[in-house]
Symmetry: C2
Subunit: 99 residues, 2 copies
């Protein structure tokens, strides 16, 4: 399992950003190795969004971003926001029941 965290700082319209992001989300969901994602929005700075996505493997994520269509989605998003993606590996996880 690998986690993609992508921080978006929107310089365009946030409604438009959310619309375009939703389209790219549908695209990513259909790719092999995609497990889940969540887009969240900063309470302090509503121009900042973070997408946290789970993938089965680095290789499957790399294959998804190399597929035709992904570049178009990223181009649309990059026109509306500065992006800062990175892949992460889990270190420690805990739920309330473990306390």
């Amino acid at each position: 399992m690998v986690t993609l965290i992508n921080r978006f700082t929107v310089h365009g319209d946030t409604d438009e950003f959310e619309r375009v992001f939703a389209t790219s989300s549908v695209f990513m969901c259909s790719q092999p190795g995609f497990a889940s994602h969540r887009l969240v929005r900063s309470l302090r700075n509503p121009k900042v969004y973070v997408n946290v996505a789970e993938w089965q493997s680095v290789a499957q994520h790399q294959a998804a971003v190399a597929r035709p269509g992904f570049a178009d989605h990223m181009k649309e998003l990059a026109a509306l926001a500065a992006v800062d993606p990175d892949l992460y590996t889990p270190v420690l996880e805990r739920a309330a029941a473990d306390a």
Copy 2:
């Protein structure tokens, strides 16, 4: 539900950071309103960690960080890493089964 995302850029020893973080994780897990958290580590820059935590409400998270003990944990972490915390609200969520 509210999401805390905290990015740590470690300038000290990463093993020591993980040890101190694990102690603060036990503390946070026992606080009312804590749901779950996950600490992940960047594959590109192993000095960068991100903690993604779920809380029942902003008020409960604020109460937890105001409690005695939290400041000591943060002081220990801040001695080892630059911190960049923020609270986020969910916008869009999707799992593979929804595709």
